[in-house]
């Protein structure tokens, strides 16, 4: 499977619909402090099924919904869509009927979050399986959070072993 596009609406500081195309090779993301770069990585982890608010640097999961700015009111929901190219048909059986898979996650204030794959509602567990089978997911060691490198160095040996289990 190949990831081709990430679309955010109302997710953290990305209040307006924003599309990041993910092409082959190396794509650089730059910008001043506090402009929203790390929020993009969190949007990717979130749509892949992350369920710990601390991984979104928040207290509760609703902290991912746009909380407002001086020129904009707060929003009521946040939504992220991940587009996957499946023309080589390598996805798990349950998802392998189409050339393209669109995974959508949407959270609404006071109503919790819902997943959809190609328009049909899906369980978080199914979405997490889809990504685990593709050697990725919200806990993938290939997603390195800001400051995570120094955590890996200072971690106890037993905690470091966990990174090996991902390779197994």
């Amino acid at each position: 499977v190949e990831f081709t596009k990430l679309r955010l609406t109302g997710f953290k500081s990305f209040v307006d619909p924003t599309e990041l195309s993910i092409a082959r090779g190396l794509t650089g993301v730059v910008g001043p402090n506090g402009c929203g770069k790390s929020n993009l990585l969190e949007a990717l982890r979130w749509v892949m099924g992350e369920n710990r608010p601390t991984a979104m640097r928040g207290a509760g999961m609703e902290d991912v919904i746009f909380a407002g700015a001086s020129s904009r009111p707060a929003r009521n929901y946040a939504e992220v869509t991940l587009t996957i190219d499946n023309t080589e048909r390598r996805a798990p059986a349950a998802f392998n009927t189409a050339d393209q898979i669109e995974v959508i996650r949407r959270i609404t204030r006071d109503a919790g979050s819902v997943f959809k794959t190609n328009g049909r509602e899906a369980r978080a567990r199914d979405v997490q399986m889809l990504f685990a089978d593709a050697s990725t997911g919200s806990h993938s060691p290939a997603l390195v959070r800001q400051g995570q490198i120094s955590e890996l160095i200072n971690a106890r040996p037993k905690a470091r072993r966990r990174i090996l289990e991902e390779a197994a």
Partner: protein, 161 residues
């Protein structure tokens, strides 16, 4: 589980030693399972020796040397089981320009060995200049993020704030 973990350990250890030598331009490094006979309960220790220096525990290495060692481990695991996407959020922050260049050489190598797509968040001008394409994130309206596609000159201006 035990057999698979041991097999993975061997592959990752071999990758780690190669990548460490690649990133440091020499030296030696390897992984050791410690604290228990049972691999499923053991800890992972990192032994390394930058070129020209004595064998050191990880804690004696400098900030930049620790970053390069950790990157060798992350990519060693990654090569054992390549993911469709890899995102690195300012991992080059503690590195000097010479090491940033080695880090970018490693990224190029990864794109040759796998079909993984990389998103590299960075403030380093050297890293920016080695990317295939660049996106800038701006906050024209305070508190509201916007994404724009940029060229290198514009990207450097963005980071200068």
């Amino acid at each position: 589980g035990r057999q698979r973990l041991l097999a993975a350990f061997d592959v990752v250890n071999r990758n780690f030693a190669t990548l460490f030598r690649h990133l440091f331009g020499g030296g030696e490094a390897n992984l050791v399972l410690v604290e228990s006979e049972d691999p499923l309960d053991a800890g992972l220790e990192i032994m390394c020796m930058p070129p020209g220096k004595k064998l050191a525990t990880l804690s004696l290495l400098s900030g930049g040397e620790q970053t390069l060692t950790a990157l060798s481990l992350i990519f060693a695991v990654f090569l054992a089981n390549p993911a469709p996407i890899c995102v690195l959020d300012e991992v080059d922050a503690p590195l000097d320009d010479a090491n940033v260049t080695r880090f970018c050489d490693l990224l190029d190598e990864m794109t040759r060995q796998t079909s993984t797509r990389f998103l590299i968040i960075t403030h380093h001008a050297v890293t920016m200049s080695r990317m295939d394409r660049l996106f800038g994130v701006t906050m024209a309206e305070r508190g509201v993020s916007q994404l724009v596609s940029v060229d290198l000159a514009r990207a450097e201006a963005l980071v200068d704030g």
